[in-house]
């Protein structure tokens, strides 16, 4: 009989339009009698459970969405504190991979509903340059992404769009075909390392203002893309779409691709390499060196830097004591290298804020957490990535400054990383670095949003919690990322628990 009780209770919910907007307002409103509703184990088949609950759920969701405004008013006591921390969940990177189709649309739809019910604010949607503008310049195909936006809107969730002007290796989303074609004959549009290897994950920042793309500069191409996006998604922007992240480089982050391959977790990462060897970067370096009166310094990058996977002390440049990084030459080179990155960031952020500034959306940019070797004096990983941040110099001042100037917010990934779980002897400290960047951002009144690494670090959820509710509370956190692992029995329960602790805190605050 319990099944039938279940059904009738649902029917009542629908009728009375009771409903609570999400799980958060439900927690703490029960007692142990709830347990009497547990299903008979093994007697009801999986399928029928699904169908039963699905049916109920659909109906309920609709009602729940309808009743949202009322509840907003009802639960005003809690909404204030809830609104301060908004949680987003990233959609799968390949939610749209051919421009037109929403991959695994049914799973996405189910996932959106589940998130809505859990009380998640919205989802993050990666929009790939190589998907939308794949065939030829100026020919955009937004249909798949529009369909996703519709789904998100229908589910009553918010949408944070990440404009990705980079490529992804996993799942494989290359740069647009026509760009890659240009790259075949003109490899200097890509970042290049000392051994001449090209990084095809994004365009070199040195070509930002060079008309290398069939007579157009990449900045103009990005601009057209953003403007087209804005006009196509105008009906969502400001309502469903509440945030836009501007892609700034490799993996969307403001940095040089100092590691061509993604770092593997749990192992000690090498220092990476400087990426200043494409002809355009070398030209810039040459000009800079000549302007500084040291033309001989403009012929190439540091000769004594280690290679990708080597530790700092394997060559002279990053040596803890007396390394070239502390020399006049080192300062010359690192100043130039980092300032090129900052100018690049400024170009893109001002582009984004000029386009989206008049809309009701927040514009974000992602700054990486180059945490390995942070505990050495030279911070080699940050230096190769373009942040002139050492034991004696705050390299994030300039970065925070451009975000402040363009009224943009910073997304910091890696909020799930804790020092405790870093490999031994790695001199890595994600926590210290995070604290440093946050302090600098606070100084410049730049808001910081958080993100975790999609790979799922050990103890990650605990660390995220700590970061979100800690000294520098995070206004927006994007949890990465929906997919098989996310909904798996290994992960999903801990995610719901994660949300629960949020709720706990908010409840306890209220009391």
């Amino acid at each position: 009989m319990e099944v039938s009780v279940m059904s009738s209770s649902q029917a009542k919910i629908c009728k009375t339009e009771l409903g609570c907007r999400d799980l958060r307002s439900c927690f703490g409103k029960t007692n142990d009698q709830n347990r009497t509703f547990s299903r008979k184990p093994n007697t009801v088949s999986f399928d029928s459970q699904i169908s039963r609950l699905r049916k109920a759920g659909l109906r309920f969701t609709v009602k729940a969405a309808d009743s949202e405004p009322i509840l907003e008013a009802k639960s005003s006591t809690s909404s204030k504190s809830l609104d301060r921390s908004r949680l987003f969940v990233g959609l799968p990177l390949d939610v749209v991979s051919d421009g037109t189709t929403v991959n695994q649309a049914r799973a996405i739809a189910a996932g959106l509903k589940a998130l809505k019910l859990l009380g998640v604010e919205g989802v993050e949607l990666p929009v790939w340059w190589g998907v939308v503008e794949n065939e030829e310049m100026g020919k955009y195909n937004w249909s798949g992404y529009l369909a996703v936006a519709e789904m998100v809107q229908k589910a009553g969730l918010k949408l944070h769009v990440s404009l990705c002007f980079h490529a992804s290796s996993e799942p494989k989303v290359p740069l647009p075909k026509w760009v890659m074609k240009i790259g075949e004959s003109q490899s200097s549009i890509f970042f290049t390392d000392r051994s001449g290897q090209h990084y095809q994950g994004c365009l070199s920042l040195a070509v930002d203002d060079l008309a290398v793309l069939d007579g157009k500069t990449p900045i103009l191409v990005y601009q057209d893309f953003c403007e087209n996006f804005k006009s196509i998604f105008s009906r969502f922007i400001g309502s469903t779409i509440t945030g836009i992240t501007m892609g700034l480089g490799p993996d969307g982050e403001l940095r040089y691709p100092s590691h061509h391959k993604p770092a593997k977790s749990g192992t000690i990462t090498g220092v990476g390499e400087f990426q200043c060897y494409d002809t355009n970067m070398l030209n810039l370096l040459k000009q800079y060196a000549e302007a500084k009166g040291n033309p001989l310094w403009g012929l190439g990058g540091p000769h004594d830097a280690p290679t990708y996977d080597q530790p700092p002390n394997s060559n002279n440049f990053f040596n803890e004591h007396g390394g070239s990084w502390e020399s006049t030459y080192g300062d010359f080179f690192l100043s130039w290298y980092s300032s090129e990155l900052v100018s690049h960031g400024n170009r893109l952020l001002s582009l984004a804020s000029s386009i989206f500034g008049d809309s009701k959306v927040d514009v974000y940019g992602k700054v990486p957490l180059m945490h390995s070797w942070y505990k050495t004096r030279a911070h080699p990983s940050e230096l190769t990535a373009g942040f002139y941040n050492t034991a004696s110099r705050d390299g994030y001042e300039a970065v925070a400054e451009i975000f402040a100037r363009n009224s943009c917010k910073i997304i910091l990934p890696g909020m799930d990383l804790s020092d405790e779980h870093q490999p031994h002897d790695s001199f890595s400290s994600p926590e210290l670095l995070l604290a440093q960047i946050q302090t600098t951002c606070n100084k410049h009144k730049v808001e910081v949003a958080g993100q975790n690494l999609a790979s799922g670090a050990p103890g990650g959820l605990e660390q995220i919690k700590k970061n979100m509710l800690g000294e520098n509370p995070i206004d927006l956190f994007t949890y990465q990322r929906m997919g098989a692992h996310f909904f798996s029995p290994e992960h999903f329960p801990s995610f719901t628990k994660f949300i629960r602790t949020f709720t706990c805190r908010q409840l306890s605050k209220r009391n």
């Binding site: 099944v3 029917a11 347990r35 109906r59 189709t101 049914r106 799973a107 790979s455 098989a484």
Partner: protein, 871 residues
């Protein structure tokens, strides 16, 4: 898609028949329905949904291609005007040829069997189905109406306890049921409530023969409270029922039906009472001339055989291994069909369909298979057990989540007390979240691989139906390959004879497939420099010895792979410039058959579609005549020698699309290509991420359209580094999956650790010495199709290898088994496969969890490896 459908039929084998009569096959023929396999009868009928091959190939985005029509089924019980009689109305708003398949149960009946309703209850147009049911078509009440309905009048004073029915759409053959069973409308108090009652405020379930696992049917229905006059109190209604007061009700549920995606093939079998033969009727609505390419099998191996005559009209023999029958158009509709008469002891009926445009219609990539033998159909049983385990795991999963959520709810419960309604609302949300997550998980999990051509259905079927999938790329899925030679095998000149002596030994070790050395005349003694392809006298033996060998291998149940070198061929003669590029023998090609881009051989063909092998003229596969000749040759090898499949040498040398062409023509049982190129290294150290390497192999498999598997060179390479340098972390990729081809496309990965090139006396890339057993502990417990090198089989490793094979077979690990990596650290790697086997390799410590649901006991232990199985 097709697999899912059949699964659903199989998993519900007794769904449709609640008849007191055990003879139903005639019924099947009478109204051409789609039936499950009756587990209580030796006669089964099986219906299969198909998609045409073309769309199956483009299986990428199934959601896009599916047309959905939404509609409603409604059920109304009300009193007619004269206050005496009652009327049950069942209707459906979807277009279709709807049939109500119904019966009644009488007061005092026990069990759930149906009876014929009394004559006066039967609406006009009803057809009695034996002695237990009625088929009544639904009609439009008037021309203008959009819905179909049927009304059944009855007088509640007679002894009828309940009306039972299911709804069938004759157009699609789909059945619509209620909660997985027939709908039941109780007319008297019905204490034994078994869950499928209508009109008692229950959730509705729709089950449709073509649709399953929430993949196709979107369930949206709940009893609509607004329309129901008495929806808000079950108690009062129950009590009224007890007093034998009927209450009218109205309920509806929406259904979504998919249309126009597929064609239907239905197969019904009945036993002819006069001749004690089986009569199998096959019918399809695939348009045009349809040829059934068919045969029978006599055991589980599903090897095609030709049955004894008589055959249906328009039947011809095809290559001595199958029969071809042209289906005859039916008088009505656009269907065609044929009747096959088979001997009683036939084990199964195998077929594929060939359409007008030369496309083949298969079941997934496999033959259709209709089990005929024995009271318990193998298929049926298997499906059953599979579905049970699926259910349990799903339950335990969802239970896990609900407990989690419940904990958090109860953890806060002291804070406030709430009204009951809120509590229920909450519970429903919790349950819904749990269900949604489970659903999303199941879909995401099924398409976890990221290369675009991944067959989404593949992993889907993994868990539900590992047995019957035969494709040239995978064989049965349970294959274990023996590499039947080494680099020295040619030396004795009588290898075929030597191997023949070992045939039964190899088979008894548990191998299912054996790879023989290249059979053709060759410039090099090992056979990889072929010259006259039709001359099969080689250093391994004569053509007759080869035939003998294949025969004996078949006798012990081994499938035989021929090693075919298609990339290059040595010439017989020089051209006018003194270059060796003119061929002799039966395939006397000239230099147009040689690719143009190898300067050594001055070919006049097109540029090579792959890499060049520089020691011999590379064959230009873009030439029509070359392909035609090679296809004929492969067909000849199949027929003349009896090879079951191929090991394809140096497939890097030409486009995989040509391989597909060759495989489609030669229809191998199993095929594997050698795509061997270098892994990526940075400064002399192998990269952790070998995705680019495995992607190249995957790309090749894709080019063959999945018709061939490929040797998993990536896995071998990574095993080298992991074992040699004690870097076992390499055995997990960034996503926590196996890092080789086997992590991405397990069913097409042929895993191996050594072969005649890498090891043996050549040693081009020898597996780390002394660590071979760790390699085998890995590949023989993991998904993929493992291949074991001859030298290892006949070495001191033999008993350990045999033990691993027997663990694999015992636990039914197959090429699509699920592997869960639980440890990948510096000195130890451990994984759980299919929740049935745990393995670890490496010197480090690992023991399987002792607190989990399974109890693990050690099955095998050796130097730096250990394997457990459930006890």
């Amino acid at each position: 898609m097709a697999a899912v459908t059949v699964d659903s039929l199989i998993q519900n084998p007794t769904l449709l028949f609640r008849s007191k009569s055990k003879v139903f096959a005639e019924t099947v023929l009478a109204h051409w329905s789609v039936l499950g396999i009756g587990s209580f009868s030796s006669l089964g009928a099986l219906a299969l949904w198909l998609q045409d091959q073309a769309s199956a190939r483009r299986r990428l985005f199934p959601s896009n291609r599916i047309e959905k029509v939404e509609g409603k089924i409604f059920i109304r019980l009300d009193q007619s005007k004269n206050q005496q009689d009652w009327q049950l109305t069942v209707g459906c708003s979807l277009p279709g040829k709807w049939i109500l398949h119904w019966g009644v149960s009488y007061i005092g009946d026990s069990g759930s069997e149906w009876d014929q309703p009394p004559k006066n209850m039967r609406p006009p147009g009803s057809i009695p189905i034996r002695d237990y049911a009625i088929d009544t078509p639904l009609n439009k009440p008037s021309k203008g109406d959009m819905f179909h309905e049927v009304k059944i009048d009855f007088n509640p004073s007679n002894e009828i306890a309940a009306i039972h029915f299911v709804l069938k759409d004759e157009e699609t053959g789909a059945w619509y049921q209620h909660r997985g069973r027939d709908f039941k409308v109780p007319l008297v108090d019905y204490l034994e409530d078994d869950g499928n009652t209508v009109g008692a405020k229950r959730g509705f379930g729709v089950w449709s023969g073509a649709l399953h696992q929430f993949s196709n049917v979107l369930l949206k229905a709940e009893a609509s409270p607004a329309d129901s006059p008495n929806n808000n109190n079950n108690e009062s209604k129950d009590s009224k029922n007890k007093n034998r007061h009927l209450e009218g009700f109205y309920e509806e549920l929406s259904i979504v039906k998919e249309v126009s995606v597929g064609n239907l093939v239905s197969v019904a079998v009945r036993k002819s009472l006069e001749t004690s033969k089986l009569v199998l009727h096959l019918e399809t609505d695939v348009p045009g001339n349809v040829v059934v390419h068919w045969g029978i099998c006599r055991d589980d191996a599903k090897r095609w055989e030709i049955p004894a005559a008589p055959y249906p009209p328009e039947t011809t023999l095809f290559k001595n291994k199958a029969l071809r029958t042209l289906l005859q158009p039916k008088a009505t509709g656009n269907r065609s069909g044929a009747l096959f008469t088979l001997d009683e002891e036939v084990f199964g009926f195998l077929f594929v369909l060939k359409l007008d445009d030369n496309t083949w219609l298969k079941f997934e990539e496999n033959d259709f298979y209709v089990p005929l033998s024995g009271a318990s159909s193998v298929l049926g049983q298997h499906g059953q057990s599979e579905s049970t385990s699926e259910e349990i795991s799903s339950n335990s999963y969802t239970d896990g989540i609900i407990n989690e959520i419940r904990n958090l709810v109860s953890g806060l419960s002291s804070e406030k007390t709430q009204k009951t309604q809120t509590k229920e609302a909450q519970e429903s949300i919790l349950q819904e979240i749990e269900q949604l997550a489970a659903e999303a998980y199941s879909i995401f999990r099924s398409s976890i691989a990221t290369f675009p051509e991944e067959d989404v259905a593949e992993t889907d079927t993994d868990t539900t139906k590992p047995t019957v999938k035969i494709s040239s790329g995978t064989g049965s899925g349970f294959e274990i390959l023996c590499q039947g030679f080494n680099w020295e095998s040619h030396k004795s000149g009588r290898w075929y004879m030597e191997l023949q002596e070992k045939a039964s030994e190899i088979s008894s070790l548990g191998f299912t497939v054996i790879w023989l050395p290249p059979p053709t005349e060759s410039v090099s003694p090992e056979g990889y420099m072929p010259k006259d392809l039709y001359n099969l006298n080689s250093r391994y033996g004569t053509i007759d010895e080869l035939k003998e060998l294949v025969k004996s291998l078949h006798k012990v149940g081994l499938k035989v792979l021929g090693d075919v070198v298609l990339n290059h061929r040595c010439a017989h003669f020089k051209n006018q410039n003194g270059i060796w590029n003119i061929f002799g023998g039966r395939l006397n090609w000239d230099d147009r058959a040689v690719v143009a881009d190898d300067p050594h051989f001055q070919g006049r063909g097109n540029k090579s579609s792959g890499d060049n092998f520089h020691a011999a003229p590379n064959i230009d596969h873009s030439q029509e005549f070359v392909r035609k000749d090679l296809k004929e040759w492969l067909g000849w090898l199949r027929e003349e020698i009896g090879y079951d499949g191929w090991r394809l040498d140096f497939v890097r040398g030409f486009w995989g699309g040509y391989v597909k062409d060759y495989l489609d023509a030669s229809e191998p049982y199993f095929a594997v290509g050698e795509y061997w190129d270098s892994l990526s290294y940075t400064y002399g150290e192998m990269d952790h991420n070998q995705d680019a390497h495995r992607q190249r192999i995957i790309d090749w498999i894709n080019a063959t359209n999945g018709t061939a598997g490929a040797f998993d060179v990536t896995t071998k390479g990574i095993l080298h580094s992991a074992l040699e340098r004690c870097e076992y972390w390499r055995l997990s990729d960034q996503k926590g999956k196996p890092p080789g081809v086997v992590g991405w496309w397990p069913s097409r990965a042929v895993t191996f650790i050594e072969n005649h090139d890498t090891g043996s006396t050549q040693g081009h890339w020898r597996f780390p010495g002394g660590k071979e057993m760790q390699g085998y502990a890995y590949i023989l417990t993991h998904p993929g199709t493992p291949a074991v090198f001859y030298d290892h089989i006949f070495s001191h490793y033999r008993s350990e290898i045999a033990a691993l094979i027997s663990i694999r077979n015992r636990n039914q690990i197959h090429c699509r088994s699920m592997v869960k990596i639980v440890k990948a650290e510096r000195d130890v790697y451990a994984a759980i496969i299919d929740e049935k086997v745990v393995m670890k390799i490496g010197p480090g410590y690992y023991e399987p969890p002792s607190d989990g649901p399974q109890r693990w006991s050690v099955a095998l232990e050796g130097k730096d490896y250990k394997v457990w199985e459930t006890s």
